[in-house]
């Protein structure tokens, strides 16, 4: 899998796709939510590893596919994903703003 965080990344979150419909989901507390804005953010590499461990299912009942860490950055409006890819996953196709999470949010 491609690298989704740079080496010195400070803030990271965990994402995956949901088995039933492929929906992009984020880890928070003890479960998975659809909206990036509510995703749990880990500060520092140790916290990130701990977050990923908590998120990774140890049995098949989790129904969540391939959780991984990705880098986010802090701005005035909260956190945003660093890469274009994760921004697109968080919102939907940039060429169809009527589809995906961005449509549901608007």
């Amino acid at each position: 899998m491609a690298q989704h965080s740079s080496k010195g990344a400070r803030f990271q979150a965990v994402t995956a796709n949901r088995l039933k419909d492929g929906e992009v989901v984020y880890f928070k507390g003890n479960g998975w939510i659809e909206n990036f804005a509510e995703a749990e953010i880990a500060d520092g590499q140790e916290a990130a590893e701990a977050l990923l461990t908590r998120a990774s299912p140890d049995n098949m009942e989790a129904f969540i596919l391939d959780p991984y860490l990705f880098e986010v950055s802090e701005s005035d409006n909260g956190f945003t994903p660093v890469s274009v890819r994760e921004n697109i996953r968080a919102k939907g196709p940039t060429v169809r703003t009527d589809l995906g999470k961005q449509a549901e949010a608007g």
Partner: protein, 551 residues
């Protein structure tokens, strides 16, 4: 058109039922993802960025109106109201939910369609010239041998676990519209000195990380021996193709590393054995049976010139423009081949809504002897339209934003789904196609520029055929930011060539300017009647490079 026999029906229905069981067991937790993933891929189901994607096979790009209506219905019922036609003449749906895909496949099977062998390391959907059976000077309808190859390659037990995927394309015409030299096997239907029909076989073409033009391994294989020859190629590949590195596993690498001469010898040796066994000789009766499905439809006896058509052109310059770019002469007097552009200015290349698919199905039924074709350049074709009725067809296409007169022009670009959808992509492709098409929207300008094929891929896998674009654009990722490498001089036709990279990559906001600079350089340098590709081949890279990197 070919109709399923009882075996086709049974294998497709059985597969749907089998997959339904697998999906149910995965959702209940009885199957792990590791166990399930190869099974879903065998049924054309990928997991992309936002959702699952289902790729449906359209053998040799031919669909009936009934099938097109089903594709529209599926877009409406199981997806978000549209589908995406691909460079493999297939259609992809971007949003189906996994738990509904078995129902979707069951509905597809009711019109003799499926998603089998649209993924995985097997022989994929066979593609062919979109003008098959309609264009003049064709040696033989390429769909006949394509159908035979489809039947031979479907669930072929020996070739279900190849080193890598395998793609075959066929043309029956000297003008190659199927990009056969960029396929694992490309077949050209030819006639020998005695007037017998046979097949020229090209092997080892492909794009991706290491692009190659296929090598011609034989000038002539007689019809009844073609499957034996193909089996020989497949067997050599299956035995010797690399399995240690997926980037080096395609047959193009085997041909390259083995050498053309040795590869030919290995294939000939295997071919001699298979041929001697006569196991794969194609019986005349079977060849005739399949051919009958592709017999010419019942054309009317019409004069070559249509007065209604000429008058419509006279009275309507927009129609006349459309005729110039989108209507191609048919082999039958009084008929034309209609190209439906899926590249509206600023639109998404290859996308069609459910409503548009329904309209196209109606048009095919009413005006085009019930046939539709998908092109590898992501457009659609109504292959048999009466010139008398071309204006009616045009008016209906216009009303549904399907009459953009730009086939082969700069706004008719190929683009893969890119980072807007694809899990493998490094950069977006579609927005660039949209920006370029909007920038060059002026039709007079497009006509002045003439034939210019832009092909855009969002990663090195080259689904957008950037290596063979007259102007090719490749998206690359640099630390999470999109950059684009530009190449010039590629071509996918009978004089296939791979593009040369101009130099340093461009940021997204500089790509349209760069394309504009390339076009202006061409316009300044061209000689009368020279297309972009001709000028590039005459003057080479330097003048373009000078302008592009002037600062």
């Amino acid at each position: 058109m070919y109709r399923y026999d009882e075996f086709d029906h049974k294998i497709v229905t059985d597969r749907v039922n089998q997959f339904r069981g697998q999906v149910n067991r995965r959702i209940s937790g009885a199957l792990s993802e590791d166990a399930f993933k190869p099974l879903r891929l065998m049924n054309g189901v990928y997991l992309q960025l936002h959702a699952y994607m289902l790729r449906v096979a359209i053998p040799y790009g031919t669909v009936s109106s009934k099938q097109m209506r089903m594709l529209a219905h599926i877009a409406r019922k199981y997806d978000r109201g549209y589908g995406h036609f691909t460079t493999r003449q297939n259609i992809q749906y971007n949003w189906p939910a996994l738990d509904r895909i078995p129902d979707l496949l069951e509905e597809l099977a009711s019109v003799e369609m499926h998603a089998i062998q649209t993924s995985g390391n097997c022989i994929r959907n066979v593609t062919a010239d979109q003008y098959a059976g309609a264009i003049a000077d064709e040696i033989e309808d390429p769909r006949i041998i394509s159908e035979i190859i489809r039947q031979w390659s479907t669930f072929h037990p020996e070739f279900s676990y190849l080193p890598r995927k395998f793609k075959i394309a066929v043309t029956g015409h000297e003008n190659d519209r199927a990009a056969i030299k960029l396929h694992d096997i490309g077949i050209v239907i030819v006639k020998n000195d005695k007037g017998e029909t046979g097949y020229e076989v090209h092997v080892g073409g492909g794009q991706g990380r290491s692009p190659f033009i296929a090598k011609k391994l034989t000038d002539f294989v007689p019809a009844k021996k073609l499957l034996a020859y193909l089996e020989a190629v497949m067997r050599v590949y299956n035995m010797l193709g690399r399995r240690d590195n997926s980037y080096k596993a395609r047959i193009k690498i085997l041909v390259h590393e083995t050498g053309e001469t040795e590869m030919r010898r290995l294939v000939e040796e295997e071919f001699a054995k298979i041929d001697a066994s006569q196991m794969l000789s194609l019986p005349e009766a079977e060849l005739d049976r399949i051919s009958a499905y592709f017999a010419p439809p019942n054309y009317e006896n019409l004069p070559a010139q249509s007065d209604a058509f000429e008058a419509a052109k006279e009275g309507n310059p927009e129609f006349s423009h459309w005729v110039k770019t989108n209507l191609v002469p048919h082999k039958t007097p009084g008929y034309g081949i209609v190209n439906i552009s899926l590249k509206p200015i600023g639109g998404i290349p290859g996308d069609a809504t459910d409503a548009q698919m329904d309209v196209i199905a109606d048009l095919a039924e009413r005006y085009a002897l019930d046939e539709i074709r998908v092109t590898h350049e992501q457009n659609l074709v109504l292959p048999h339209v009466k010139l008398d009725e071309a204006k009616e067809v045009y008016d209906i296409l216009c009303a549904h934003d399907l009459a953009t007169p730009n086939i082969g022009l700069i706004s008719d670009s190929i683009a893969c789904p890119g980072l807007d959808y694809c899990n493998l992509a490094n950069a977006r492709s579609i927005p660039l196609a949209q920006e370029i098409s909007t920038h060059f929207a002026d039709l007079d300008k497009q006509y002045d520029i003439g034939e210019l094929k832009i092909k855009i891929s969002g990663c090195i896998n080259a689904c957008g055929h950037h290596h063979v674009g007259h102007i090719g654009i490749l998206g690359v990722d640099k630390k999470g930011t999109e950059f684009y490498q530009i190449s010039l001089g590629g071509s996918a036709d009978e004089k296939a060539s791979l593009g040369d990279i101009t130099g340093q990559a461009f940021t997204e906001d500089k790509v349209v300017d760069a394309v504009d600079t390339i076009v202006e350089t061409y316009l300044n340098l061209r000689q009368p009647e020279e297309r972009f590709l001709d000028t590039y081949r005459r003057v080479g890279m330097d003048p373009f490079k000078e302008q592009l990197y002037a600062d």
